[in-house]
Amino acid sequence: MPIPTLEEKLAWMKPAPPMEYELACVEKLSLGSYEIGVQRTNDILDEAMEVFMRSSRSSMGVAGDSIVSLFTANGDLVNAASGTFLHGMIQSIVIKYILKNYAENPGINDGDIWFTNDAVYGGIHNPDVVVVMPTFYHGQLIGWTGAALHTSETGAIEPGGMSVSAKTRFEEGFNVPPLKIGQNFKLNNDFVEMAAAFGIRAPQMVVIDLKARSTAADRARTRILELADKMGVEHVVGLFRKMLIVAEQSARERIRSWPDGKYRSVNFSDGVGPAEGLVRTSLMIEKKGDRLLLDFSGTSPENFSSYNAHPQAIVGHVSNFVYEYVFHDLPVANSVFAPIDFYFPEGTCLSPDARAATSCSVMIATGVMSAVHNCFGKMMFCTQDWQQVTASAGNAGNALVVAGLSQWNMPYSDMLAYSLNSEGQGGKATGDGVNTFGFPWAVFGRAPDVETMENEFPMLVPFSQHWTDSCGHGKYRGGVGSAQLWVAYHERDVWFLCTADNTRLQTPQPIFGGYAPCTVPGISIRKADLLRRMQAGEFNGRLDLTEILDEQSIEGQWIIEFFARAARSFAHGDVITIAFATGGAGYGDPLEREPELVLQDLQNNIISFWSAENIYKVALDDSGRKIDQMLTSQLRQKEYHQRLQRGLKYQDFQAQWSQKMPPQEILHSFGSWPEGKPIQMIMRA
């Protein structure tokens, strides 16, 4: 069967035209039954999501960094449980591929369980595993259900599923195109064994999560059948179609209310796998009438790392933002994308060759995640939707993987959910971003308790705290992220790797005069004296990030390096890493921030005195507990005056600025400067 083309994948993410039967069912919906029906789908999905989380074994599954979705018989997404919205969008491709290619052989039957994790066939990246099931009602196909969750292991050249060192698809472990893996409501044992074999670093996690996906999809399927029993099958068919219609009409109406024009953002990343290199994501949104075109021309070429993404993965990342902020009050339906088109130039890191490594696609997609905040924000701020304008969340990745043999003699390989689920939200048009708000890829996920982490893995977590000054400053600052200390424990070696970036520069752009969050290095301490001193009661249960950094108060061999790190092992007592979750970008001019809010942040250790003085120009009185209003006003007036003194007129600025360029050695993956055109052919054997 052919690999779906880019055109097919983009078309399949939009809704199919309604069938006459569906429209007839819509007409039969009684007054109020639509609204009640929508809520019933929410309830069904919430229940299935709860089942999913309680059935999962891996950290991200337990945290709820996952999704359960409902689809029409044609494969169109009509609603989803809060979670990784990007997984919802791409399942339409998977189902439509199955419908097109496999209806006859092997056939689509009641009780089927279908599987895929292959980004070439429509996935996000191969650790993101999708299970879909058809919903048959007395022999009639009336819909599909799906459950998707990042797997903890793919059998790649490194543990954890996201191989930071892979350079081609062939180093990324198993890639399975849409495949029937179960019949008559039972998983095929031969496939389960294959999953266990590829997941040999953590077979219990891989197999249990596979069963959890199937269980969650089946729970939603079962409840839809009960709804059909209760309300009639035409109610379900009509409800699903009307949800698509309402979502599309509402989306078009909202888009139409914004001003026509072009809105642009460029975002940069500094990682090409574990190597450093400058990469650009370029986005222009052209808005005309009730349509949007998202054009990624100017994005850097595909590169020889796993930091590439296939186009539908990028649409998925756009959908995260769209469902969270722009169409948050509509069903999570793919029909909101009916008026939204995409242009991906081939050969860019957002539309690479099929042989490209893409297991870290979510990292290269961070530029898009940030760019949509700025482009939509500048399109919407002058409209009645202005309150939804928000600077980008922190999204440095923080994908920290540990692997080995646990204190329970169980093999494990897992991406830990605490750092993922505790990044800072961007500053908002209405106030500060939320501190440690969540996972930018799944905002409703939950960071686990430290005790759970320590029980599952051979590590000690002596502190978890808000990370002071990690926010982007502004009138409304970004939320701060978190920091944890991870120490290898239980006399076990721990393998560790990290998929991330944002060490040389920050990918999120601030908005309306704010600042970006700080950058983040990878820090570990080998042969650390921490455990010995803790056992001697030296820290009295108190450890603090600022003190550790200021005084390097933990003695040992400090290693401060790029945040992304290839797999390496740590011995008992080593500080594996300081696990950072980054802060959100800032909104607005910091000089406009209410001084009392600055004081409050100081008292809560959210910002430092240095930032209060140097960024916000706030002075405290002699007590150190109150604002010196007069001095603060003077400092701010002085800063306004200095801006007028030091700022250059455009022509004068350009005369200096245009003579500069980055060092040549960091441009190996950028493309030509500054156009970003391909300048080398990538050969993948």
Partner: protein
């Protein structure tokens, strides 16, 4: 009749001009990039993001990789926008509104303006 396009940027639809929302100063024509009328300052990122450790990687952006470009209102000094750009990278023309189309929609009463914001006329 002004439209509040960003926190600090107004679009004056009567004069087809960009204006500062804070002080009201006229910047430039609405079909141009408002940034060209701002005062512009290239800032070393270390001045905003204090290095926290003495190391090559120190929690502060590397100025060889990125600079902060600050755009100030030439009248009042409000920091209207910022961009984090590699040295020499072209400035972004971030907002390019089809002003003629917008005015036509307002004049036809398809859209209204209330407190500086567009709303759908009923």
């Amino acid at each position: 009749m002004k439209l509040r396009v960003t926190e600090y940027l107004d679009l004056d639809l009567d004069q087809d001009k960009w204006c500062c929302n804070k002080c009201g100063a006229v910047l430039n024509d609405a079909d141009k990039n408002y940034k060209e009328a701002c005062l512009i300052y290239e800032r070393n990122p270390n001045e905003v993001h204090r290095p926290l450790v003495e190391a090559e990687y120190n929690f502060s952006p590397d100025p060889n990789w990125v600079r902060i470009i600050e755009f100030y209102c030439p009248s009042c000094g409000a920091q209207m926008e910022t961009e984090y750009l590699p040295p020499g990278h072209p400035l972004t023309h971030d907002i390019e509104i089809d002003v003629a189309a917008l005015k036509a929609r307002v004049q036809s009463k398809e859209l209204g303006i209330k407190e500086g914001r567009l709303y759908k006329s009923i």
